[in-house]
Symmetry: C2
Subunit: 344 residues, 2 copies
């Protein structure tokens, strides 16, 4: 089906479009009262696993704040779940994996699953979303980067430093690479099926890539992301968002990814210099800035868009939207991007 | 008194020394069994406020792991405490300030105190430490950067994002700047008295500087750090450690600080390029890497020292040592630096 709004895809394909496309990480989430209603009624995985609910949640921000793309409502931790680990998601305290991977024995509990068997509900949701979107905007699929998934599988919960995950990699590197490869193989199959079901582009979230030194980022993260991009880029444009890994923008661009997410801690001009001229940059508004008064949001969005310049840019936050952002502030962000005129 | 080991000070003064000096952030801390004994017996602030205990703890790593500098045992949160806020430090859960600053009314509770009255125990500890050190190694004093102190005063506890602190600054910028200036004035007086009591150098810890965009880092953090450095640098060399704020290394060097701390997420070569050729760089071993087997630690320390090259470098971790690091791994780190030969 022909898309009515294909700004995002044309931008990812290198076209300079009539205006900058905009979406927000975690746009289908807790800041929306309509989402909170469903959150009261259904558990997290129930919302992920019921295609009608995942579809309704995915579409909410398209209708309510007017973003230029929908992103599948799901969670990166459905992958370790499909690989055989128990995952509990209590939203007030974050994810818990009660039996994390600590040694070779634990690794025996992990498998590369048949994704159609274990994650079929995601592909069903994607088909339903595509139908309900009816070509209004493109749909973004996603998965976690293998390193970030390993962080949770080994640490067993969220962490500021993920030092248990790092210690696992530093003391048992062979096991770590086995596990990373299993996650990679699962993720490739998972994203391929997301695309087969209708995802127009996919984003790889490496939320904890920025905890690694540049050398370790290559060793533990990027070499696996590269495998994923290599397979997927043949079919759709791929976006990598490795939060904080500014030092490897050049290497990430060299994977063949069409888009690279950046956070607000790097100036757009510097990110462009590091990433090279061809790749699309995505970001990089400080999510906490959406708590500012609306005129401040408008002023700062303008500054951001001017710094990125026209073309090769997707406007977004530099991380997920915060739950306490007023909806009209989120809408002000989106509208400010839509109304911006680049000087030529 | 003449120092027997003045490697750190000579390095900060721009001399190329016979070898690279080494110390570790949080070297006086929980990884040491000798520290844990005192931790069982005395509360956190009791340890800070009793000069004999602070002295004993400060000296432990000098004796046990052989670092080239002692750093005062204390906490950055003694400053908000001296300014009138209650601070609870429960080490298993982190700091809690039960009555944080949210508005103008709250700000009335905060004062710029007489530091001799409120923080005299720190200066007494420094005098005692200097006496007990007896010239073996220099003593580093320290304080938190005003932005980092504001984070705790407003958020009231630790946080990954400190978005309440940021929202305070974005929605009530005048109050934020009033508070930052009060913290700055207190910190200048506090560090001046540390120097008067005998501190040979001071480090300013901006643990949360890296959460800010480059523009906000200048606005909310660096302009206040600059005030502190401007006064202090007349007397002793100053080190700034703004974790994650790689984007502002050039501006930090321009304050006149003699040393800049960096974390492991930036290559030494790149940090040098950003910071310019004159300033001393301090860092940048990944603290989690100290959990690696000792031969790996030795190999990686060598790589780090080679990357920094001889001179203008103080070996350190890129953040505080983790409590679960074996003491012989910490010693292996220190020894690897001491035994390293730079090729000339």
């Amino acid at each position: 089906m022909q898309l009515k709004n294909d700004l995002l895809l044309r931008t990812l394909n290198g076209e300079t479009t009539e205006r900058t496309p905009v979406w927000m990480m975690r746009q289908a989430g807790r800041y929306l009262p309509e989402y909170r209603v469903l959150r009261e009624k259904y558990g997290f995985f129930e919302r992920c696993q019921t295609p009608e609910l995942a579809c309704e949640i995915t579409l909410q921000p398209v209708d309510i704040v007017g973003v230029d793309a929908a992103i599948l409502f799901s969670d990166i931790l459905v992958v370790p779940q499909a690989m055989g680990l128990e995952v509990q998601l209590i939203e007030s305290k974050g994810p818990v994996l009660p039996d994390p991977i600590k040694n070779n024995n634990d690794l025996q509990r992990v498998r590369v699953p048949d994704v159609n068997e274990t994650l079929g509900y995601v592909f069903d949701a994607i088909k339903l979303i595509k139908q309900e979107l009816n070509g209004r905007v493109p749909l973004i699929g996603f998965a976690g980067a293998p390193w970030t998934i390993l962080c949770y599988m080994v640490q067993g919960k969220g962490s500021k430093t993920f030092d248990e995950a790092k210690a696992f990699c530093y003391t048992q590197p062979e096991l770590a690479h086995q596990l990373l490869q299993m996650i990679t193989d699962t993720t490739i199959a998972y994203l391929q099926q997301q695309v087969a079901a209708g995802a127009d582009t996919v984003q790889i979230f490496d939320s904890w890539g920025g905890l690694l030194s540049p050398a370790d980022f290559e060793e533990l993260s990027l070499q696996y992301i590269r495998q994923i991009v290599t397979v997927l880029k043949e079919k759709i444009p791929v976006i990598i968002f490795a939060k904080g890994a500014w030092h490897s923008l050049e290497n990430m661009a060299a994977t063949g990814a069409k888009g690279l997410g950046i956070d607000w801690c790097i100036q757009p001009e510097r990110a462009r210099q590091f990433a090279g001229k061809d790749v699309v940059l995505q970001g990089n508004f400080d999510p906490a800035k959406l708590l500012s008064p609306i005129p401040v949001i408008q002023k700062e969005v303008k500054q951001m868009l001017d710094a990125f310049g026209p073309g090769n840019h997707i406007a977004n936050l530099g991380h997920g939207i915060l739950p306490n952002v007023p909806v009209d502030h989120a809408r002000a962000f989106v509208d400010a991007v839509k109304n911006h005129k680049h000087h030529s």
